[in-house]
Each structure stands twice: as C-alpha cells, then as structure tokens.
C-alpha cells in the first residue's frame, strides 16, 4: 500500500513540473522575441527539439524489502524469529550498462534507457543446537548471496534546469525488469564444540542456478539526478545517479520450493521487492544536425 502512495506522489510531481514548464516557456518566448534576430529565432527553434543517443555504465548497490517471510526450517521448541534471515542492504556491488535514446523538447526529455543490470544482495541466518553440557554446542551460519541479471526497460521524463554547458537534470520514470539469469551461492560455516574443542569450519560454497525461483519480471519507479556536460564537439558527458524503487515481488510465488537443492539446504526465498541505486558515467551524441558537417547549434 505504501508503494501505491508513492505512485500517487509521483503523479502529482509530474503534473506540477508540467504546469511550471508551461509558465516558464511563455516568458522565455517574450524575451527571445526582443533579443534575437530572425536567424537566432530559427536556431532556437531548431534547438527546441533534439534526439540523443548515448551509452553509460557504472556500479550499483541493491536493497531488498521483505513483504512476507518464508523458511524451510520450522522450529518445534524455539522462536522462529531466532533463525530469521538477516538481510544486508547495499553491501554487494553490481553493475549495469545502459543504451540511452532520448528526445529533447523545450527543456524536457523523454528517455528510453534499456539496461543490462546485474544486482546482488545477501542475507544470512544462524542455527544453534545445545543442551546443559557446555560442550554440546553446535552453531551453523548460512550465508546466501543472490546474483540477478535483468534486462531493465525504463521510460523516463527528464527535466534540464539550465541550458548552458553544464546541464543538471532531474528524472522520474517507470521501469519493467525482465529476468535473464539468477544464481544463488550458499556458504555454510560454523563452530562445533562437541568434538572436544572449538572446531571452526567453513564448507565449500554451494552454487545453484536459481532462475526459476524468481519472478520472470517485476516493475518499479525510477527517480534520479544527473549532469550533462557539453564538450563542445557534439558530445555530452553524462553523470547520472538513479534510484529504482521496486513495486512488485521479485520472487516466484509458484516456484519457491522448486529447487530441490536449495530446499534441501534449507533456503526458501521470501517475497521481496528490490531497490537499486546506480551511478553511471557515459556520453551522449545528438542525432539531429544543422548541416552536413555534423554541426549542431548546441555548442554552449
């Protein structure tokens, strides 16, 4: 429900920004008519529209939120919360590469940014067996790392604040992510006191393909800020920070226990939403030119 309110908020912001731009563009027109000659007017008119094509890449960090928890181990004489999963957010670095196609019109850009995104997150849980004899004590730690690859298809609206060489912008949008691949790595370690001393051990990681355990697609909202720097030779350098806010479950509700290997290890995926913060660097090229020499008027 909380996430639905955010959609509404996003809606209101979009409407407000739209209204302000309309007001601003009206006053701009008046100033231009007084300051520029006919040629300048034509140039301005040309610059009102532009297509941009670019590529950007960078690291990302992920966070998951649990909607409903699931477990294979069902305790009979202790509280289930004591063996609950502990998620570590924004701890494992992923990466992403994006192809950007944007259409600029009067300060706004409509941008489609198909992205290959590799996200990682981790969680752990602990089990203890003991009794009144101090040596009768075994502790096991299960550490699970999830590696997910998505084809992310975001549709964004960007707004440029300034129109000089340095152009900061804000962006808001919506995305759909299609699952490409998933891998789960389970590492079991522990301390066994029962052998006569503290016997610390760490087993070889268990690596299992887990694509079936995740939803084939999910969706979310996307917001961010960035900077474009015009190099003056038709190329813009782009620095972008964006936050993807997952709105739907990334786990497969039907196939939660379909991996006999992972169920056997005692792992079951929770119902989760995935958030992701990404920092990217890239460059953009204009696709509309004034003359055959690839000259644009956008040389500020």
């Amino acid at each position: 429900m909380k996430r639905r309110y955010l959609v509404l908020l996003f809606f209101l912001i979009a409407a407000t920004v739209n209204a302000q731009e309309k007001k601003r563009s009206g006053s701009d027109k008046k100033r231009k008519s007084a300051a520029y000659n006919k040629k300048a007017k034509e140039d301005d008119k040309f610059l009102e529209k532009q297509w941009w094509l670019g590529f950007k890449a960078g690291p990302n960090l992920s966070k998951v939120s649990v909607d409903k928890s699931y477990a294979v181990v069902s305790p009979t004489n202790y509280d289930a919360s004591s063996i609950g999963k502990t998620y570590k957010n924004f701890s494992l670095m992923g990466s992403q590469a994006t192809l950007e196609v944007s259409f600029y019109f009067k300060g706004f850009l409509i941008s489609f940014q198909p992205t290959y995104q590799r996200s990682r997150f981790e969680y752990s849980n602990q089990f203890n067996w003991m009794d009144t004899i101090p040596e009768h004590n075994v502790a096991l730690n299960y550490h699970q790392e999830q590696k997910l690859s998505y084809a992310v298809l975001p549709l964004l609206v960007k707004y440029d604040f300034l129109h000089g060489r340095l152009r900061p912008y804000v962006q808001l949008g919506i995305y759909s992510a299609l699952l490409l691949d998933a891998t789960t790595i389970v590492t079991v370690s522990g301390v066994d006191q029962a052998s006569g001393g503290a016997n610390e051990f760490k087993n070889e990681p268990i690596i299992v393909g887990s694509k079936d355990l995740f939803a084939k697609s999910h969706w979310g909202l996307l917001g961010g800020v960035g900077l474009n720097y015009n190099l003056g030779n038709n190329v813009r350098l782009n620095f972008d920070v964006s936050y993807k806010y997952g709105m739907s479950n990334i786990s497969s509700t039907k196939n939660r226990y379909s991996s006999d290997r992972l169920s056997g290890v005692g792992d079951a995926m929770d119902d989760l939403t995935l958030d992701n913060v990404a920092v990217t660097l890239g460059c953009l090229f204009p696709l509309r030119f004034l003359s055959s020499g690839f000259k644009t008027l956008d040389k500020k």
Binding site: D131, A215, R261, G264
Partner: protein, 407 residues
C-alpha cells in the same frame, strides 16, 4: 491541456499494466508446494518419522519415534502436527510409561488416527489413537499375548498386525478389531534351531532396539482373503501368504537368509504386487509382479537394478493417480544421501521419470502419500548440520506430479 491529460492517462495505464502483470502472493501455491524441516534446538534430541497422514484441515500428522535416553531399549513415541503450509503446529512426546516403539502404518479410521506400539515393561502390543489436532493420545492393550509389533495395515475395518513372539521365535500374523480384540492369529517359525541359527533372532531384536538393520516388515490382505506378511520365516526374510489359520503358509516368496528378500511390498489387486527387492546389497524395482505359486525365490523375480541406491535400501511404494495416469512412485535412499523418487506407469511398469529431494544434509525416506489436492507429500529424516536427526516433509504439487508423469 487535453494532451497533458493524455500523457497522464498513459502513465496510469502503464502503471496498471505493470501492476497487473506482476508476481502476486497466492496462498494456494504455499499449500501446494513446500519443504519443511522440523527442528528442535536440543543437542541430544533425535526424531525419526514412521508414517504420515493428511488431516481434514489440510494439515499433516506425522507418527515418529524419538530417542528416550542413552540407555533406553526402545524408541519413544513422537507425534507431530503440521498445518497445510507445512509449518509446525504441535507435538506430543508420549511418555514411555504409556507406550514405546511406535509402528506404522498410521491408519485413519473415523475421526482418529491409529497406530501400534508396545508396553515398555511387558512388551505387549498396544493400539494407540490420536485425534487430528493431537489433543490426546489413547492407548489400548491388544488382547491375548501379542508382543513386539512389527507392521500393521487396515482393511475391512480390522487391523492386520505382524508381530514377533520371542518365546516361540515366531512371526505372528493377526487380525484385530479396533478395540484390540483378536479375530485371527497364527505364528510361523522364524527358524531358530541351533546356535548358528540364533542369528535370525539377533536380526529381529536388533531391529526393535534400532541397533541394527531396520527390516522392511509389512502386513496386509489380498482381494481373495489371503493375508500376507513380509518378515522372517524359516530362516529367510520372506513374503508369506497365509489364511492366518493353517500351520503351513499358502505360498512363500522366499528370500535368501538375511541377504535377499523383498524391501517393499504394495498390493495392487488380484495376485499383483508392486515390489522391490534386495539381494546381497543390490536393489531391484518390480513395478507390477504376479507372485507365482509353489514357494518361488524372490531372487528369481528379476527387476530393474538401481545401483544409485544404498545397499539393501529401504523402499516405499505408492500408487498415485493423476487425471490421465495411474502411476507407481518408488521412494528410496540414494548413495548421494538424497531421497530418490522413481515414477513408473502402473499398467505397463514402464519407467517415466525420477526426481531427487534434499541436498547438502543427508535425507532418508520414511513415508509418502498422495494428498487430497492431487499432489504428493514425502516424509523423511534429515540430519541437520549433518548429525541431528529431524523430521522433514516435502510437498509436491499436482502440476509438478503431472509434469513428472508426462516426461
């Protein structure tokens, strides 16, 4: 103005479309598929399941055994209730003074779940029952002098019990009513005559103490009224057919001492059985076998060999029905410490597919049932941390079962 609202409308439609296609929670899925391990944090706790039944509320009752103490002779009785999602609801550790050594099958009759156990002092067989919510366990001694219950089944509102008479060294087949009254009983010598033959008795006693091999004892009745039991008879582990009255059995599928015999017996109808056999450590599945007359040797039955199974593996056989197929599901323990499920067509005995449950920790089969939703539930023992025996249940959905049988 209108354009602005078009774009907003487009955005709302986009959100609705994405939202509509997203993964939704569905409690039905949680019920159709699950894996559960019922853990107790006590270091010296030890549980093993014997049989399992689905309850009317969609949950499960597991009849199991538990370690009583380091010096106890017999395993204690343990009952566990799980809900329809496989989550722990309740357990009962029945005091040893009430009974020990639980024996399956766990039989649903009217509103109760029945099983056999024995008195820890007199070793007399007892009929125990419990309700679906595990509110109370009630125990009734079997009349007469039946000791060491080994296996039981239920047919025509009566129990068929295989037990062991340690005084006369006999395997005893009996028919009992639900109050424990004996309707029929007949004993057959296990074959103890001289010093070197006492080994047969040793096998039996070690089974009860759980210090040795767990023998696949079985008892039941055929459509023609003949009773059968899989147990020790005449120095061998044999499948014996009898009317429970004559001194000599009607027919015997003979084993080879303790080295060969039948490890799984499931009656299909007429003279046909789904069988599995062991022979000097090897394992064979026989999905659909008419037992010939004239005291045949089970070593001549042939079958599909399964070298992936542990030596002399325990085997459970289930007749499962889907919308399109009647299947036989064999479940056993693999050398890779998993529970192997092997699916065969019942009519032809043709192998269809296999599936393996469990990983990392060892898993062993105890029981499998077909659930009311058309799926399978598999109950077994797993060893958490590689050492703590705990009960586990795997639930396989009807869709998965259909998929398994369509391969």
């Amino acid at each position: 103005m209108l354009k602005k609202y078009y774009s907003l409308l487009l955005f709302v439609l986009g959100v609705s479309l994405f939202s509509g296609c997203s993964e939704k929670s569905n409690p039905a899925f949680d019920q159709q598929n699950f894996a559960s391990i019922f853990d107790n944090s006590k270091f010296d706790a030890s549980y093993f399941p014997i049989d399992m039944r689905e309850t009317p509320d969609g949950g499960y009752i597991v009849l199991g055994g538990r370690r009583l103490s380091e010096n106890s002779d017999f395993a204690g009785i343990y009952l566990l209730k799980a809900d329809q999602y496989g989550k722990f609801v309740k357990e009962i550790e029945v005091p040893a003074s009430t009974g020990v050594y639980p024996v399956g099958k766990l039989v649903e009759y009217q509103t109760k779940y029945y099983f056999f156990c024995m008195d820890a002092q007199t070793l007399q067989a007892q009929i125990a029952n419990v309700d679906a919510l595990l509110e109370a366990v009630s125990v009734t001694p079997v009349q007469g002098n039946l000791t060491y219950p080994a296996a039981a089944s239920f047919a025509n509102n009566n129990f068929i019990l295989l037990s062991y008479n340690n005084n006369d060294k006999q395997s005893v087949i009996s028919v009992l009513n639900t109050d424990g009254g004996i309707l029929k009983t007949k004993g057959y010598d296990i074959g103890v005559g001289s010093d070197d033959q006492i080994i047969t008795e040793k096998y039996v006693i070690e089974h009860y103490l759980r210090t040795g091999r767990q023998w696949p004892f079985e008892a039941g009745v055929m459509a023609n009224g003949l009773y059968y039991f899989n147990g020790f008879y005449n120095y061998t582990f044999s499948l014996v057919f009898t009317n429970a009255a004559s001194d000599d059995p009607s027919n015997v599928a003979q084993g080879q001492s303790d080295k060969g015999g039948l490890s799984g017996v499931s009656y299909l109808g007429a003279n046909k059985f789904a069988l599995s056999r062991f022979s000097y450590g090897n394992n064979y599945f026989l999905p659909g076998k008419d037992i010939p007359g004239g005291d045949p040797a089970s070593s001549d039955f042939g079958g599909f060999t399964l070298p992936e199974l542990v030596a002399d593996a325990p085997v459970k056989i289930l007749q499962a029905k889907t919308d399109t197929k009647n299947a036989l599901v064999y479940a056993s323990n693999t050398k890779s410490k998993q529970i192997g499920l092997y699916f065969y067509e019942q009519e032809t005995g043709t192998f269809i597919s296999s599936r393996y449950l469990g990983f990392s920790n060892p898993y062993e089969i105890s029981s499998l049932i077909q659930t009311s939703d058309g799926g399978l539930a598999v109950c077994g023992t797993t060893y958490l941390a590689g050492r703590f025996p705990r009960i586990c249940i795997f639930k396989i959905s009807k869709d998965e079962l259909n998929g398994q049988l369509s391969k």
